[in-house]
């Protein structure tokens, strides 16, 4: 029973004219006494790349888990193309939203091709009896699944790694394989949880190109990242979460120039690199604590 919360659904700063694909309203996720996500709204339109930033523990991944049905939000609702999504991962995937993971979660003992094929199966219909009896439907679907999986591996640049076991692949390739597996479900919205974590600059640049390519193919993308240069290059809009709450939402320019963000990210003048993620985390944390102290303690 997810509680629908009445909200003004007007999104003043979103690019108009495009259809809204993903719309989350008033999402709250509480674990016992801890509120990990606190009243977060998100609107994603067709062909948009939206960034989700914030320090560790800000609730970004928890928010993703709420969107994809892994968690049942305490309050709020998530709509995809206007339809309310139930908190059931299988239904969310079939409705057209899939994701990758911060800590790579491939099926480690299966090949790259098999991993992508597993992602594809939510779009096939053959049942266990079709498989056992090797009906024409089973054989046709299996061939199509394999073909589509190979296409996707080519698309993300892993066309030559088809038969490698996922656990034996280089780290950057594993991240791309996760994207291929997510794409295999035919999503309208793709959620990427730290797609460049642990990558070198070359791999990061490749990942950026890949995400643009995915966007250009008509998908909307939501990206969680700590790499600010990457986020501000990539995104049409950026949402900054701090302690489960939206600190600010806007264009990269607006977010970069927002006084609170400037204060947190670059306004210290102590000569540290502005896009050092750990540093940013610490500063956001400090910033929020200072603000909370001014406003009379935490809730």
């Amino acid at each position: 029973m997810s509680t629908a919360v009445a909200h003004d659904t007007g999104a003043p700063d979103a690019p108009s004219g495009r259809d809204v694909l993903l719309e989350a309203r008033g999402v709250v996720m509480r674990f016992g006494g801890l509120t990990a996500v606190d009243d977060v709204d998100l609107t994603v339109r067709e062909g948009e790349i939206v960034g989700l930033i914030g320090p560790n523990g800000a609730g970004k991944t928890t928010f993703f888990n709420c969107l994809t049905g892994l968690y049942k939000p305490t309050e709020g609702e998530v709509r995809l193309s206007g339809t309310v999504l139930p908190p059931k991962p299988g239904r969310v995937v079939r409705a057209g939203m899939s994701r990758t993971f911060q800590n790579i979660r491939l099926f480690a003992n299966m090949t790259a091709l098999e991993n992508v094929m597993v992602g594809r199966y939510c779009r096939t219909k053959a049942g266990a009896f079709d498989s056992i009896l090797r009906t024409p439907r089973f054989r046709r679907e299996e061939a199509q699944t394999r073909e589509r999986a190979q296409e996707l591996l080519d698309y993300v640049g892993l066309g030559r790694s088809t038969e490698l076991l996922a656990r034996n692949m280089p780290y950057g390739d594993q991240r791309r394989l996760e994207i291929a597996r997510a794409l295999a479900t035919d999503p309208k919205v793709l959620l990427l949880d730290e797609p460049t974590a642990g990558m070198n600059p070359q791999e990061t640049a490749d990942a950026e190109r890949l995400i643009f390519k995915i966007r250009d193919s008509g998908l909307a993308v939501v990206v969680i990242e700590h790499d600010m240069r990457f986020i501000f290059n990539l995104c049409d809009r950026v949402l900054c979460l701090v302690r489960g709450k939206t600190l600010i939402e806007g264009t990269p320019g607006e977010v970069q120039s927002d006084p609170r963000v400037i204060e947190a990210y670059i306004g210290t003048g102590d000569g540290t690199e502005p896009d050092d993620p750990d540093d940013i985390d610490a500063k956001i944390e400090a910033q929020v604590e200072a603000r909370e102290a001014r406003e009379g303690g935490r809730g």
Binding site: T68, G69, L70, P89, G90, V92, V93, R94, S98, R99, F101, R105, F107, A108, N109, M110, E114, M117, V118, G119, Y121, C122, T124, A126, A128, S131, I132, F138, E141, E142, T145, R181, T185
Partner: protein
């Protein structure tokens, strides 16, 4: 000690039977980390399913073409039992503490034994199951044994070993080459991610129970042919031995279940040669304890269902 080759054949025969049942323990464990202690009863019900099919359709006919139909009846009875068991007894306990499904399994086991014992004979035309019931001697798979030098190979023994071979090949194909098989591998490696990829985990669990039950049913028929009779208690010791075989090979590992079953069968047979037949169970469970102490992951290593 000239009967070592003969005992090896006997050991491989019993071992094949253990292996067929052990696969059911291991497949289910690989998917839901549950030891289904009622699996021995699924095997017993397979034997009764075959016998019932024979009574209903073929009474007094022992032609070999009857056998596939009996096997189908056995599989239907076992799969139905296992699927209903999963649905009403295990699924509601999916997130309960691990002790709960274990106790439930023992309860189901006793329930099924008593159910067969008390109700089978009340069905019109069926004999009472309170004592052993003769199992039909099907032409071709029972009768005069083959001789290989001094070694005697009983026809049901060949049936049992052949069944293991066919089932093993089928299972390997199913797990590695079909949609449901790949989905099973995915669920056993990471259930949450599998769900997020749109896999219906509940359905995969049902398929795992059904696969294990089908193999146990075939083992039930093999047991009936070997012993010429079946009874409501036959699942208890066979189930315990098969569970031992699954642990021996590495629980969750399908190849391990086969290797564990054959190893256990041969170890028992050798115990018969070197000690005495009466001690073979002591030998079998002694082997289990040794493996658990020195190689707790089993001979081939405990792992999730993959690459059968």
């Amino acid at each position: 000690m000239n009967d070592i080759p003969q005992q090896l054949v006997n050991g491989l025969t019993n071992g094949s039977l253990y292996a067929l049942i052990a696969v059911g323990y291991t497949v289910v464990y690989g998917i839901v980390q549950l030891i289904n202690f009622a699996h021995g009863e699924v095997f017993m019900i397979g034997a009764f399913g075959a016998l019932s099919t024979w009574f209903l359709l073929f009474r007094d006919n022992t032609s070999v073409w009857v056998l596939p139909v009996m096997i189908a009846g056995a599989i239907a009875a076992s799969v139905a039992t296992a699927v209903i068991m999963e649905r009403i007894a295990y699924r509601p306990l999916r997130h309960a503490p691990r002790l709960a499904p274990l106790i439930t399994a023992i309860g189901i086991s006793v329930f099924l034994q008593e159910f067969v014992r008390l109700f089978y004979g009340t069905i019109p035309g069926f004999p009472s199951a309170k004592s052993k019931i003769p199992f039909p001697a099907i032409d071709g798979v029972t009768g005069s044994p083959f001789h290989l030098g001094s070694v005697v190979i009983q026809r049901p023994a060949l049936f049992t070993m052949g069944a293991l071979l066919v089932c093993g090949l089928f299972l390997g194909w199913f797990i590695n080459k079909t949609k449901q098989g790949r989905a099973m591998q995915a669920v056993s490696q990471d259930p949450d991610t599998a769900r997020l990829m749109g896999i219906d985990v509940d359905r995969i669990i049902v398929i795992a129970f059904a696969l294990g039950a089908a193999l146990a049913a075939i083992a039930g028929v093999a047991q009936g042919l070997q012993n010429n009779n079946i009874d409501f208690k036959m699942g208890f010791m066979a189930g315990l031995k098969a569970f031992t075989a699954a642990v021996l090979g590495g629980i969750g590992n399908i190849q391990g279940a086969v290797v564990g079953g054959l190893t256990l069968g041969v170890a028992e047979a050798l115990a018969t040669v070197f000690v005495t037949g009466a001690w073979k169970d002591v030998f079998a469970f002694g082997l289990l304890i040794l493996v658990l102490v020195f190689r707790p992951q089993g001979l081939l290593g405990a792992r999730v269902v993959d690459r059968a």
